[in-house]
């Protein structure tokens, strides 16, 4: 398949682009480790007060924190992936250049972003996670099947994350100024993904609602699969369902945006 090789090349490029920024990567590892420490001590204090909050014991709460730090950049939970670049191309009209290439816009950016995510998982995510597992009591499984299922949920989470950010980026075609959309993305990402507090610790009925939103496919699902609290098959279906919906909506919006560009010139 010719196009599979094209998008594999794009993904490899995405990986290598981020790999060239070594200092930024090292700084990211440091930041995530420090934030992890702050959050861990906060959580430990909280779980001291409210044992079994959200159904987690202390080791599970600690695991959740380090997993969040490992996936923070990988899943661009507060943004910071391809979407800033795409929005800039939309703003300057350079997106028109992307159109004359014989490649699909959505597939192109998805491939590049998966490359970036994989690099950030390995380059930025693994170290804080290993650090946490070494120095704090964590609740990690021994069963390799669970680890394999966990890996699948991360892959699906990457696609869901892309789907959300692709829509945010495309809003740039209609909004004069994309900073508002990016800020909404940051706040919703922080809150609804459970980055600040696990979704199962949210008060009801808010907790039930946020669990159904696509953001819960990012951190909560992989965490619950890793700690054996969710049936992996359910997680796969939930994540894949959102991935398909988001990509399909993205495709529709992309069609409208493309028509706009070829008529209005961007």
């Amino acid at each position: 398949m010719g196009s599979a090789r094209l998008y594999a090349t794009v993904a490899a490029g995405g990986f290598r682009r981020y790999a060239t920024y070594r200092v930024a990567t090292a700084a990211g590892v440091f930041t995530n480790t420090v934030f992890g420490l702050i959050l861990v001590y906060t959580y430990l204090a909280l779980w001291d007060e409210r044992p079994h909050l959200g159904g987690y014991d202390q080791a599970q709460a600690v695991t959740y924190v380090w997993l969040g730090q490992a996936l923070f950049a990988t899943l661009a939970i507060q943004g910071g992936g391809f979407e800033t670049e795409l929005m800039e191309r939309i703003r300057t009209g350079e997106v028109a250049i992307d159109l004359y290439r014989p490649a699909d816009l959505q597939a192109w950016w998805l491939a590049g972003d998966l490359g970036r995510a994989l690099f950030q998982l390995l380059g930025r995510g693994v170290l804080p996670f290993v650090f946490g597992a070494l120095f704090f009591p964590t609740a990690l499984p021994h069963d390799p099947v669970i680890w394999a299922a966990f890996a699948v949920t991360i892959g699906l989470a990457m696609v869901v994350s892309f789907g959300i950010r692709f829509l945010v980026a495309l809003s740039g075609f209609w909004l004069m100024d994309g900073t508002g959309a990016v800020q909404v993305l940051m706040v919703t990402g922080m809150f609804f993904s459970g980055m600040a507090l696990p979704l199962n610790a949210f008060p009801q009925p808010l907790g039930d609602i946020v669990t159904l939103l696509p953001w819960s496919a990012l951190l909560q699902m992989p965490a619950d699969v890793l700690m054996g609290r969710t049936d992996p098959l359910f997680a796969f279906v939930f994540q894949a369902g959102w991935a398909v919906v988001l990509l399909a909506v993205g495709r529709l919006v992309q069609g409208a945006a493309t028509r706009r560009v070829v008529v209005q010139g961007g």
Binding site: G2, R5, G13, I97, Y100
Partner: protein, 340 residues
């Protein structure tokens, strides 16, 4: 390729009364919008034969880039008919993409953070270039554009001229039949400009690639193109040989004569008029369309002539003049002799 056979060689690019109108909405107050229509391209017609190299010039905002964008298919015309290699660009953008190459001078298609070679590998996959052909083309372009020392350098570290050469190579790896260049020499230093021009000339003569290049650097045209199209305010005001542009602009050449001694302005009747006198040297303006020989003969016969030189008109001035004429006269396309 069956459609390709039906495309007449003489009309490889066919533009027939093509228009582009942009609707520009502007905020004029709270909840108040003003709709303005910008006629960026106004009923332009021309054809380009396979293997031609055509210069497309005009001042900023004339409609050059808009025309190029329509020819690539990333912008749909508001009216008229457009064919490139028999393909309607905006309807079959992707199919056309395999047959054309595009370079936008102010924008790069290269991967900013990665070595140049990575962008070429990407083109290899994107255009599905057979491996052997890719290697061959890459080697050739790297040599002609002197890129071998740059292949491993991240694009963001390249100079503007180096990046332009890199972009040109990227646009040609898939052997396009047509190359559009939108301001390829903008911002380049003299050496880089010369290099790009030399390459383009070779591409056109050796490989027969059809080249359409927009510029507002007249030297590009003078050195590269035998045919030039001038666009202004979205309208084609001249299409023909470079030489004919002088006549169209009613331009004048200058004859500089050095006499033996300081004399009053020379008298040659209607043939020329003296525009400047500086000691024994005098400057005479005469129509660019006239030969200098009779004028020189007459002066040599009647005056103590020591030396002389003829200065070609400044083409920049010619075009500026043509624009002025248009402003006042609003005439239609000036057809120069010997061209479509």
């Amino acid at each position: 390729m069956s459609e390709g056979a039906t495309v007449p060689e003489s009309a490889f690019i066919e533009v027939d009364r093509v228009e582009k109108v942009f609707d520009v909405r502007r905020r004029t107050g709270f909840l108040q919008r003003e709709l303005r229509r910008v006629r960026a391209v106004d009923a332009i017609s021309f054809t380009v034969a396979r293997g031609e190299m055509v210069g497309y010039i005009g001042p900023n905002g004339a409609g050059k880039s808009t025309t190029i964008k329509m020819l690539t298919g990333i912008l749909t015309p508001s009216g008229g008919r457009l064919r490139v290699a028999g393909i309607d660009p905006s309807r079959e953008r992707t199919r056309l993409a395999h047959r054309i190459g595009v370079v936008f001078g102010q924008r790069t298609t290269l991967w900013w953070d990665l070595p140049l070679i990575d962008s070429y590998r990407l083109m290899h996959r994107m255009y599905r270039i057979p491996d052997g052909r890719y290697r061959e083309n890459l080697d050739r372009l790297v040599e002609l554009l002197d890129l071998s020392a740059l292949l491993e350098v991240p694009v963001r570290q390249l100079s503007l001229g180096q990046r332009m050469r890199g972009d040109i190579a990227a646009a040609l790896l898939h052997d396009p039949e047509v190359l559009y260049l939108d301001e390829p020499t903008i911002g380049l230093d003299v050496v880089s400009k010369a290099r790009v021009r030399e390459f383009l000339r070779e591409l056109n003569t050796e490989r027969g690639t059809t080249v359409l290049l927009t510029t507002h650097d007249l030297q590009d045209i003078e050195q590269l193109c035998s045919r030039v199209m001038v666009i202004d305010h979205g309208r084609l005001v001249y299409d023909g040989a470079l030489a004919g542009l002088h006549e169209a602009g009613e331009s004048e050449r200058t004859l500089v004569v050095d006499l033996e001694r300081e004399l009053p302005p020379v008298e040659v009747g209607e043939a020329a008029r003296v525009v400047k006198v500086d000691g024994p040297r005098q400057w005479l303006a005469f129509p660019a369309s006239e030969s200098a020989a009779p004028l020189v003969a007459r002066i040599a016969a009647e005056y103590p002539l020591v030396d002389l030189s003829v200065r070609e008109p400044d083409i920049e001035a010619v075009i500026a003049r043509m624009y002025q004429d248009r402003e006042t006269a609003r005439e239609t396309v000036v057809q120069a002799p010997g061209n479509s």
